[in-house]
């Protein structure tokens, strides 16, 4: 192996604030060879972003590098003066961030922002600099680069903004690119485009890349070596093929086991109990010991050393010490199946029957606020859910899936359509009658931090629904009901008197579920309930939702952009594109025999946590979601469709049945 490009040795970073400083990064060591893609994986709060910021020396005010060495091409970065550091940033190493919308200056054209970096680090000026900017924008495959260079960030989509960020980072051919969750804020189809781009750029330019992510699928598709971080430390380092073939550390194994796509549909996901320990205390032993189900007696007391687990594969775990080797080789015992009890499922009729649901938002302009257009967020959606079943609603952000959920609850007033709940039209009810019927349908939201009022105690929040809907007259009964609900979602009864800020994201989501359950709904709209959570916590919540469905025969409308979660949770799937459903069918039909080109592209874009999976040869979508204010004529999908025909431009395709359950709206009939 040649001399490493970047060598990090024993790096420690403290974050001040609170009583004791947090050791966000604690004794981290790794090396990146020239031209190598090295991935740093971990759940939120494990210190991976702090590592990146420490290397760039861009820590926030409260952060401080407490010790260690960071060498870039043999030069110790931590000893350099700030002025020298500024020359290095963007020149020999560059960074791209998670949120492309926040990383660009909104009042400068994107071309100007790329040119800024070019001028800072090279001698190019004037026309030469402009030419270089254009070359860079073309290198990141910005469509119509010359025109885009003169545009402002708000005129670009999220994917294009991230391309601009990459162009800025590439301006001076850096030897090292640090990418901090570069695709987390993007949709799967755009994520696939950006990952392809990063991989190609890295290969063609021989640039090394430090990729920081929480998504094992991304790692498998892009990286060559991987390090798993837990609570400020690296616990395992391995080449990607070896890691995905056999993760060594119990934590890594748990991460894999909690991926919904790895579990069978009928099985419970392996969730990691508890949460990441606070980093402001001293650790005597292994940091994962208290959550580890393979913990040995010495785990709590002695710090594990590095052990070989294979070629280039090292792990910080006592299990790989000389005599215990091989303990971890036996597979996890299969969990008992938790599929819903079939006796509760009656297929005779549907609980929810939505037909022709439209939610249009008028666009008003001028002095008299005349309506000049309609944003057709939801444009004629029909779906049905049988009691005890789950319908997964999938689509990219902006396709209107959340609006469907809120529209059928009348949190947003729909423009037209029918929502039959148990034989009664929800949309025709007057306000007073609606209030009484609201107990049938409840909702769980995406953001566990925004879904609980910070000023209301948990007990009072749970009681609110009971009071508002007049369920249970006396206070004693309500209190015992709240205790029951908390027990059902796995929380002790004493949380009643506490306030939301004392709980973690996963616990809050449990409370939100308990709140929805309080009024005994028949249908729960789950609006991306796990997309703000880490995989291990997501597994806990998905298990809980599955168990509740089995016990109570609940129906779910499960809204998500995550195909793996949908595949695990849903019985039927509806795929949405620009306000309309383009394909509908059972899970098996849609996942394994997608008929609509959009569904195929969506499935192909999902990064698979398996490096042997070859992403090439599958469909890649170009471009972004068009605006629902002005949808393309004919089939909405035709501008991005690889199989578009002339008739697609002219008329919206009709319903096309492939089986009694599978329907696609597409002209294609092969």
């Amino acid at each position: 192996m040649t001399a490493p490009l970047l060598r990090v040795e024993n790096l420690s970073t403290l974050v001040r604030g609170g009583a004791a400083p947090l050791r966000a990064v604690d004794g981290l060591s790794f090396e990146i060879a020239p031209g190598e893609t090295f991935a740093l994986v971990g759940e939120s709060g494990c210190g991976k972003s702090m590592t990146a910021l420490s290397i760039m020396r861009l820590l926030p005010d409260a952060g401080e590098i407490a010790g260690g060495r960071v060498e870039l091409q043999g030069e110790n970065l931590l000893a350099l003066p700030e002025s020298r550091m500024r020359d290095l940033r963007g020149h020999r190493m560059a960074m791209i961030f998670q949120e492309p919308g926040l990383s660009l200056n909104p009042v400068m054209t994107v071309g100007e922002q790329v040119a800024e970096s070019v001028r800072r680090h090279t001698a190019l000026r004037g026309a030469a600099a402009d030419a270089r900017v254009l070359e860079l924008l073309e290198a990141v495959r910005m469509p119509d680069a010359r025109r885009r260079a003169a545009e402002y960030p708000f005129q670009l989509s999220g994917g294009m903004k991230q391309r601009v960020m990459i162009a800025i980072a590439l301006a001076c051919d850096p030897a090292l690119l640090i990418a901090d969750e570069p695709t987390t804020a993007l949709d799967v189809t755009v994520q696939a485009q950006v990952l392809d781009l990063l991989r190609e750029l890295q290969q063609s330019r021989g640039m090394a890349m430090l990729l920081i992510t929480h998504d094992l699928g991304v790692v498998a598709q892009v990286a060559q070596r991987v390090a798993v971080m837990y609570a400020g430390q690296i616990v395992e380092t391995a080449p990607v093929p070896a890691f995905f073939a056999g993760p060594a550390h119990p934590y890594s194994r748990k991460l894999f086991a909690s991926l919904p796509e790895r579990a069978g549909r009928g099985r419970a996901l392996a969730a990691i109990p508890g949460s990441v320990p606070r980093l402001d205390r001293d650790f005597a032993g292994c940091r994962f010991a208290e959550r580890c189900d393979a913990a040995l007696p010495q785990c709590a007391g002695t710090l594990p050393q590095w052990h070989e687990a294979g070629r280039d594969h090292v792990v910080r775990c006592h299990l790989y010490g000389s005599d215990e080797r091989g303990v971890m080789s036996d597979e996890r015992k299969p969990e008992p199946p938790t599929s819903p009890d079939s006796s509760l499922i009656a297929h005779h009729s549907s609980l929810l029957e939505v037909s022709g649901l439209k939610v249009w938002f008028p666009v008003r302009k001028g002095l008299l606020q005349r309506t000049v257009g309609q944003v057709r967020a939801v444009d004629g959606v029909s779906l049905s859910i049988a009691p005890g079943r789950t319908l997964g609603l999938v689509g990219e952000s902006g396709c209107g899936k959340t609006t469907v959920g809120k529209g059928l609850l009348r949190l947003i007033e729909p423009t037209a359509g029918r929502v039959m709940v148990d034989g009664e039209d929800f949309l025709a009810l007057r306000r007073r009658d609606l209030r009484l019927r609201r107990r049938d349908v409840q909702i769980i939201f995406q953001d566990p931090y925004a879904s609980l009022n910070p000023r209301v105690r948990i007990g009072d929040a749970l009681e609110e629904g009971l009071l508002a809907l007049g369920v249970g007259v006396d206070a004693r009964w309500r209190q015992s009901r709240i205790d029951e609900l908390l027990a059902e979602v796995g929380l002790p009864p004493d949380v009643k008197s506490r306030y939301p800020h004392e709980f973690s994201g996963g616990q809050r989501q449990r409370i939100a579920i308990a709140r929805a359950l309080a009024v005994q709904p028949k249908l729960i709209v789950c609006d991306e309930p796990t997309s703000a959570l880490d995989v291990s916590v997501q597994a806990q919540i998905l298990n809980l939702l599955k168990r509740l469905q089995g016990e109570r025969g609940l129906s779910y409308l499960f809204i998500s952009h995550n195909m793996a979660v949908i595949e695990y949770m849903a019985d039927d799937i509806a795929v949405m594109y620009l306000g309309r459903i383009v394909e509908r069918g059972t899970v098996a039909e849609v996942m394994h025999g997608p008929r609509h080109p959009y569904t195929r592209a969506l499935l192909a874009a999902v990064p698979v946590a398996d490096p042997r999976h070859n992403p090439r040869g599958t469909i890649r979508l170009a471009g972004d979601l068009p605006s629902p204010l002005n949808p393309p004529s004919g089939c909405h999908f035709h501008p991005r469709c690889p199989a578009a025909m002339p008739q697609c431009r002219e008329q919206y395709p009709g319903r096309n049945s492939w089986s009694p359950t599978q329907v696609a709206w597409c002209h294609l009939r092969d």
Binding site: G17, K406, R435, V441, F445, A450, N453, A468, A516
Partner: protein, 472 residues
């Protein structure tokens, strides 16, 4: 001596406010999420020092808000009550109030400021500076005896103040020791090391500063006019202390008048949006386009005319002045709610999209309940910040309005009337500076303390700072 307590309208409101604050404090004590920001205020040194100074002003204001009439000696059995309405503060400051001179005298003077023609015992007339009736009247030889006498009296006052301070400090240490469960010595060191949860060190320092000034002044006040006298010979110190109540009432009541408008309209506009929002926006846009001074002048003059036309409703000058003060509070409040309303509307527009509000809507919780339970508590930090920030602005506004003659009743002592009375004498040679200086220093101390306290409150209640905080 029998007395009859009489409650002016403003007194009633002041005591209601005090009762409300005490109730609120008791309510807050039991709720950790409400008391947490106040504990943060307690940990702020500048905030606690400001609160200490402020509490002296509040004490003066409260003493001045208990009014009574004393009984007059009457020949018959029927009790007769004095026509003069006095307050507890007047009672405490009796020597100052009663010690009227003829006209201007300088601070600590023994003679009048202007020469007067006096008739000597032998019939000759001479222009001299006459002796004051009260200031330094106990001195046999004012020329030689004045400064030594002032020094001894001041020193005695200072010694007493230090004694008092020491007693207070010991008391605080004992209290801290009891609450922390440590020895009194450890508590003492803890206080001076700034390690107590409440910043007692700042409180004690501020207390020392106040006492060092107040002690000598209190010792001198019965014998001298410490801050001189004004045109009609009234003690300026007395006037300044009486002005405190006026300032406080304007500051608090006017702020409270703004509150219902701002809160109700702001939350409604943000929550309902649509035509309610349009209406509220038009209302406050229009209101804030009218020149405030004009509106206030018109309202105050209308009030004045009404009072003069209905003398039977307002039997005494004190009551008339009081009603006018209240009217000023109301009109100041009505003209200044727009800023807070706009802030609250913006915040509620943001909050109403949050998921807990939508979850409540999904339960069919009524709109009013959502506003009361989910929105209002979550904008209270903004209200709290705005209230303490507005207070000082309104105290200053009173001074300006009284100065241009549309403020409080001329018979009511306030900073504004003091400045108004003193402004013409600035041109005099030698200058009569003490009235203006006294008003200036008192107002500065009051407003500065209020502003520093407001700053501490703002820092403690601002959720963004609270998250990043802890490293102040």
């Amino acid at each position: 001596m029998p007395v009859r307590i009489e409650l002016l309208w403003s007194d009633l409101l002041v005591w209601l406010l005090v009762a409300g604050l005490v109730g609120l404090a008791l309510y807050t004590r039991k709720r950790p999420h409400l008391s947490a920001p106040w504990i943060r205020v307690g940990a702020s040194a500048s905030g606690m020092a400001a609160a200490t100074v402020l509490s002296f002003f509040v004490l003066v204001g409260l003493l001045d808000s208990v009014h009574y009439r004393s009984a007059l000696p009457s020949p018959g059995g029927k009790p007769a009550w004095s026509t003069e309405l006095r307050s507890l503060l007047d009672r405490v400051l009796d020597p100052l109030r009663a010690g009227r001179e003829k006209t201007y005298s300088a601070p600590l003077a023994t003679h009048l400021f202007a020469k007067e023609t006096v008739v000597l015992p032998d019939g000759r007339e001479e222009r001299v500076f006459p002796r004051l009736r009260h200031g330094g009247a106990h001195l046999a030889d004012p020329e030689a005896g004045r400064w030594p006498d002032v020094a001894t009296k001041a020193f005695r006052g200072l010694a007493l103040a230090l004694l008092l301070w020491f007693a207070a400090a010991i008391g605080v240490a004992a209290m801290t020791a009891r609450s922390l469960g440590t020895g009194i010595e450890a508590a003492w060191r803890g206080i001076w090391g700034g390690r107590t949860p409440l910043q007692w060190r700042a409180v004690l320092c501020a207390l020392a500063a106040v006492l060092v000034i107040a002690g000598p002044v209190a010792a001198l006040a019965p014998y001298y006019h410490v801050l001189g006298t004004d045109k009609v010979g009234q003690d300026v110190l007395y006037q300044a202390l009486k002005s405190v109540r006026t300032g406080l009432i304007i500051g608090t009541l006017a702020t409270l008048v703004t509150l219902p408008f701002a809160l109700v309209l702001g939350v409604m506009a943000g929550y309902f949006r649509g035509w309610v929002d349009d209406l509220v926006q038009y209302l406050y846009t229009t209101l804030s386009s009218i020149p405030g001074v004009l509106l206030i002048a018109a309202a105050v003059l209308m009030m004045q005319v009404y009072v003069e036309n209905h003398p039977e409703l307002f039997p005494s000058t004190e009551i008339r002045a009081d009603v006018r003060l209240l009217a000023l509070c109301v009109i100041l409040g009505i003209t200044s709610w727009t800023g807070l309303c706009r802030l609250l509307r913006g915040e509620v527009l943001k909050l109403r999209e949050l998921e807990y509000v939508q979850a409540a809507q999904a339960f069919g919780v009524s709109n009013w309940r959502i506003m009361m339970r989910h929105l209002t508590p979550n904008v209270m930090h903004i209200v709290m910040i705005a209230l303490v920030m507005d207070f000082s602005g309104l105290v200053l506004a009173e001074a300006v309005l009284s100065y241009i003659g549309v403020g409080v009743d001329p018979s009511m002592i306030s900073f504004g009337t003091m400045i108004n009375g003193a402004r013409l004498e600035m041109a005099r040679e030698p200058m009569v500076w003490w009235s203006l200086a006294a008003a200036f220093v008192f107002m500065l101390a009051l407003v500065l303390a209020a502003n520093l306290f407001a700053d501490a409150v703002r820092d403690a209640f601002d959720p963004r700072l609270a998250i990043a905080g802890g490293r102040a």
